[in-house]
Symmetry: C2
Subunit: 793 residues, 2 copies
């Protein structure tokens, strides 16, 4: 138990750490050499290019303008300058909605903190039970401000119950308002988007195999019959995983070729050579450019064969298809209705946007899906409650004796007392740390096995799993001592009314732990987030070792998306802590408020300058956020109920029992009021949008546009596949007519070179012309790869 | 604890009772006077008329043909003569599916009983633990055959676990097959039906109020815009509850008039008179025929006014409408999609068939619905667990002293020892018996408050509530001694693993109780069902006292529908008993099998000869039946788990833990595989059916047919309203063209009289011609009421 003073010291240390991080960030971000680490988003959208034209060589890497050092903290006001609609425009609705979660935290807990400080803390302090006990027990000052200080059977508990009611009503009111806002933002966002493939397209899975008939025929027959006036065309799904691997290999070769050609251009006297053996260390000396050109040619032949095979072999066609309609209305109808008499065939759902599709899972049949779901739920349960078993096993192996057996020659070093004590302290935790570091990856793999077909859904599913893990192992695990298995055991053998009491009674005692947690994980964590130490180091390392061409530099810079699967569950843990401690130990609230405010600034900066979302789900995660905050409220109510029942406040406690029921009713109401906006697409909206399109642009060539939008990216063209892998959305907000002619030009600064070839290439790489395509590979690729952000001119 | 001998005696008594009932039935049913009690269905469909043409007066009432007495048991083979498709044709799919539940019981428990007798009983008997104990304890013979006879820690429990697995797999296999069959029966049934209003119509609720615009305009605008090519017409819903009351009053007056006119016809010399005062006992003497004619005329004027007001007053128009489409495809699309941006407005669902609509609940707004649902769920919870409190209170009042205080003059009678002991035994149970008798009504009222809009849904919801009540108070209440409140208390304060043990350990001991229950409630109950003692007495009483006209006789005969809300939950209790005891005390299974077989015969007879379903939901209750049988399996598994854990069979018990998970997975799979067939209407089916109609009858006048199908019956015509109230479905399987001309003629034997008037009347009674209608009321009514089953000629 820490006193208020201890907490103050801890807070100071953490504040200083955070400030040090911020200072480092402020200094590092203005160095040109780090520009691509701290502002990659601007490079990707083409608003920023490398500062190569600086006169001074040093100025390329270090900021010599001293004036900028004086204003090194100005990133904070800068982040606030961009308004929400601009953020949506700039980074998408997902990012904007993500920022709103932090604002929601401030809105819920801000007033709650004020009321709690004005009312509850005086009530708690005046109780003074702990003053009498303090000589016998070690009581922290914080406990004097908490509910622990109120004497059992005291009528003061009415104040806590009232506060819980007020807090719940306030939180529900804010949640309702926020859900309303986000739902209408989503609808507006979807409405404001111009024609996009996913608005007209439905993903159909479990297409039945009809003997002597191709999948494509079956699909077109079925939809021509059942959606006669609306069906436009469809795109079958090919199993192109093997082809994708070959394409990646070709990319690598192309990269080497580009590098060598650049080398040759700079130094035209000496043709670069290489050895053909392992890692280029031995073997025959050959001309590099010729060697790679030869290799690429061989691979291209193989690729063409493979490409042909994919298109011809019926086994490579998966029983799934993207079916496009001639109006949003038609697609909305198909996505929401049942198609076939057998409800596990012809399953329709909205197609994810092309970048969001997780191609590998498109072919899983229905029965297999049910089994996968079962297996994964069992696995998640086991992981949450029993993960400690394998780790304890590894820990028992990874002790000093084990180490000495494996590496006997190190024995003298290990026996040194300093190193020995270091290892003894370090080794047991190592397995756990490795596991926690691997955890998000493990959970993502589980979600992939579960069979979701879009990255956005995969991430949401991973986030849910991560939340359960955090809830049980971080939150409950910190409150109730003992491992998760012990908890599970005691939960199974305790009565349902006993569990909230067991947990509730230890809540006030753990307040200081959670305050420290908020400061270490929250405050310092956020400062670390903005510093981007790992990407910074990785970028410079890659730049020194790996980067050969501009394409490589783009890869090294790639900031990826916000890590929703980790960020959202961690965030929700703070909501849970806030809800649980708002009434019990309100002193915790300011710490959470600071976290929310600080994190809001940081992520606002990151969203504007760093992250580049791979997909746009239009805030589809909001229902999950909402549900879990409601779950937090329920947990806090049950725990307070348990806590009060140990305080013998028999006359006041039953008053609380109505609260969970009211909260659940609110949840149900919100679910039916808002959730359809996130799952379905209202026909009213579809009709309006169709009419608008009709008025503005009467007859676009929808068919040719839609039919190619959902081709497996690897089959489309190798160049587009690369952009796809990098997450560059070249056809965002494109009209169909534009798409066919200018695939990249919008997302980069104007590049006059090779415009003609670029114009030809995407058209050439459609399925129909694939045979003639080989010859254009080499030439085309050279230009487009160097072109990618138009900066080598 | 009863021995096998005791059970045998009890079985004998119950078998004899059942046989006595059957004998009574067999004798009563061949008496012509009871014909309308035992064969009302045939009267309603018009295949049978009163045997008035017999020569002998006595033969009108008593069967004098001695030959028929010799074959008095031939109803049993007779019931089997009708094949399932004929039953569907004759009584509807609901009844046919209801019969299949009993067959399913036979199919699940038949093989289970054989295996259990061959394997489990020898295993149990050979254990012989109870032989050693029998001197000390009173052990029943039945327990020697049950799991109680196996010694703790015995490896024989593997046999029980294996049996449980086998039983579960077998039950799931049968459930799967049956669900499959019923689902395809449903689809075929729906497909085989000719054009019916509900196939083209969608119920829209929560139509938003637009200022200065009528609901009708809002609806037509919205659907013209959002379903432009499919919308046909709509029918707004009027609040006609007041009007309906007036119409019922008019019906009564008309009935008196008919009676008096008949009286006058038979005895033309004396005009019937009546007194105007209370119950016709005093007051002014008037001519009856004139009096009633005058009264009806007055009421008709009021009715016309009210009718006008309903159609004009916008407040009487509810924010709901029945919207009809020009194809099944259009209706299927509208019913399954979200219409509006605000998901709690414009809620669409399939319209129930016109007879199934519960008009009163159509106007409940969404928010009120959520609150109603919450309140009713709390009320059901309270009813299930705390119903005993008010009953105990009433019981404490309704004792002998209380009775003596209220009726002091009865004191001498009450003090007689015989009467005293009778009352002492009778009174305490009286409150409980009255409550149980009222229970289905109470639950139905609750369902009505919940806001369902169709009788079929109301009945399903009532059945669910009744099932919970039976499960807690009959099943658990019989196993665990103590009231439901005590159980609830102990459940809340026991650990989740303790509850199955507490219940499981008392299961084998209660086997004899349940065997007796099956015989009393099941066997004798079924015999009582076929005897129809209450309807028999009521019919003859009404016939003597109340029946004045043929219309009254039709009313007195009205057999109503099968009582699904009571019959299905009781039936499901037998599945639960069977599942729980299949492994524990298999000797119970034959009793259940006999019940299922006997009940199957009885209900087959009743379905063919007696009941007349008010509505046809096309087996919509099947998912509920399926879910609850799965719930029974889960309960039985958990209880066996609990029972085995008290037997210290630690090495075998964990094997059982996988079974509930597998069962749940099976449940989930079935839910997605079959449930959509009961909730949605596949577009494939809709398109096929539309095409068939197109081919067979290209251009019917759909609009005029559909627009009137969903008029509130009371607004349609008074005659149709009467038929509606009696549950006579005059437009079943009608083509639109037929409907307009011959509403009743199909469902009765040919009646040449007044064909012309009949042809005219329904046309005249549409909304547009309602003003001119008054004059035709009297004349028209006289004929049509007498006409109703064409038997007075």
């Amino acid at each position: 138990m820490a006193s208020l003073g201890d907490i103050g010291v801890s807070a100071l240390i953490n504040i200083l750490t955070a400030f040090a991080f911020l200072l480092a960030f402020a200094l590092l971000r203005i160095q040109p050499i780090n520009d691509r680490v701290y502002f990659p988003k601007w490079y990707i959208i083409g608003a920023r290019t490398s500062p190569k034209h600086a006169d001074n060589f040093v100025a390329k890497f270090v900021n010599l303008n001293l004036k900028t050092y004086l204003t090194f903290l100005n990133w904070m006001p800068q982040t606030m300058r961009m308004k929400e609609p601009e953020i949506i425009e700039h980074a998408g609705l997902d990012s904007a909605a993500f920022l709103r979660i932090y604002l929601l935290g401030l809105r819920i807990f801000g007033p709650a903190a004020i009321v709690a400080f004005l009312v509850l803390i005086p009530v708690n302090v005046s109780g003074g039970m702990l003053f009498f006990l303090s000589k016998e027990l070690v009581i922290s000052d914080i406990d004097k401000l908490s509910i622990s200080n109120v004497q059992p059977k005291s009528p003061k508990f009415f104040a806590h119950i009232l506060m819980m009611y007020l807090f719940t009503f306030w939180a529900c009111y804010m949640l309702y308002k926020e859900y309303d806002v986000v739902a209408s933002m989503r609808l507006n966002f979807l409405a404001s988007k111009s024609r996009r493939a996913e608005q007209f397209t439905v993903l159909v899975r479990n297409v039945p195999r009809v003997p002597d008939r191709s999948v494509s025929d079956t699909v077109s027959c079925f939809f021509k019959k059942n959606h006669s006036t609306h069906y436009l065309c469809h795109q079958t799904v090919y199993n192109a995983n093997k082809y994708a691997r070959a394409v990646r290999k070709r990319q690598k070769l192309q990269n080497y070729l580009d590098y060598n050609q650049l080398k040759f251009e700079r130094n035209p006297n000496k043709r670069p050579t290489k050895k053909t053996g392992f890692l280029g260390l031995w073997g025959q000396q050959v001309d590099s450019i010729e060697y790679y050109q030869q290799k690429i040619k061989e691979l291209d032949e193989k690729l063409t064969m493979e490409h042909h095979e994919i298109l011809k072999d019926p086994k490579r066609i998966m029983p799934a298809a993207f079916v496009s309609f001639n109006s949003r209305w038609g697609a909305a109808v198909c996505a929401q209705t049942q198609q076939s008499k057998n409800p596990i065939l012809w399953l329709t759902e909205w197609a994810p946007e092309p970048h969001d599709v997780y191609w590998k899972n498109l072919a899983i049949p229905f029965v297999s899906l049910s089994i996968r779901k079962l297996v994964i739920s069992l696995a998640v349960f086991a992981l949450v409650f029993f993960y400690i078993i394998p780790i304890a096993f590894v820990q028992s192996l990874a002790n000093l004796e084990g180490l000495e057996k494996v590496v006997p020659f190190l024995r003298p070093v290990i026996e040194w007392s300093f190193i020995k004590s270091f290892l003894q302290g370090f080794l047991p935790g190592l397995a756990l740390k490795i596991f926690l570091w691997l955890l998000p990856g493990i959970l993502m793999t589980m979600s992939k096995i579960e069979g979701h077909v879009a990255f956005s859904v995969l991430e949401r599913s991973t986030a849910a799993k991560y939340y359960y893990f955090m809830l049980v192992n971080v939150f409950l695990g910190s409150i109730v001592t003992g491992t998760a298995i012990q908890q599970l055991h005691s939960f199974l053998h305790q009565s349902p009314t006993q569990i909230p009491r067991t947990i509730g009674v230890s809540i006030p005692m753990k307040a200081t732990f959670f305050i420290t947690y908020i400061m270490v994980d929250g405050w310092a964590g956020m400062a670390g987030e903005i510093l981007r130490l790992k990407p910074l180091i990785m970028f410079h390392l890659k730049n020194m070792v790996l980067v050969k061409t501009e394409r490589d530099r783009l890869k090294a810079m790639n900031p990826k998306s916000i890590d929703f699967p980790e960020a959202i569950p961690s965030l929700q843990l703070y909501f849970l802590m806030g809800a649980v401690y708002a009434v019990v130990t309100p002193i915790l609230l300011p710490f959470i408020l600071i976290f929310f405010a600080f994190a809001y600034f940081v992520y606002r900066h990151q969203v504007i300058n760093v992250y580049n979302q791979r997909y746009e789900s239009a805030a589809a995660f909001w229902p999950h956020v909402h549900h879990r905050i409601i779950a937090s409220l329920l947990i806090s109510q049950l725990l307070l109920l348990g806590l009060l029942s140990t305080k013998k406040a028999a006359n006041s406690t039953p008053l609380l029992a109505a609260l969970p029921i009211l909260t659940l009713t609110f949840h149900k109401f919100c679910k039916s009021r808002f959730e359809p906006a996130f799952r379905k697409y209202p026909l009213e909206e579809a009709v309006e949008k169709d009419a608008q399109d009709e008025a503005s642009e009467p007859e676009p060539d929808m068919k040719s546009y839609l039919c190619e939008a959902y081709l497996h990216p690897v089959l489309r063209s190798i160049e587009e596949f690369e952009l796809f892998e990098l997450g560059v959305d070249h056809n965002q907000a494109h009209m169909p007519s534009q798409l066919a002619t200018e695939p990249i030009s919008r997302s980069r600064s104007p590049s006059p070179v090779n415009e003609q070839e670029n114009k030809v290439s995407p058209k050439m790489q459609h399925l129909e012309v694939v045979v003639e395509q080989e010859s254009s590979y080499t030439h085309h690729h050279k230009t487009s790869a160097l072109n990618v952000d138009g900066m080598h001119h």
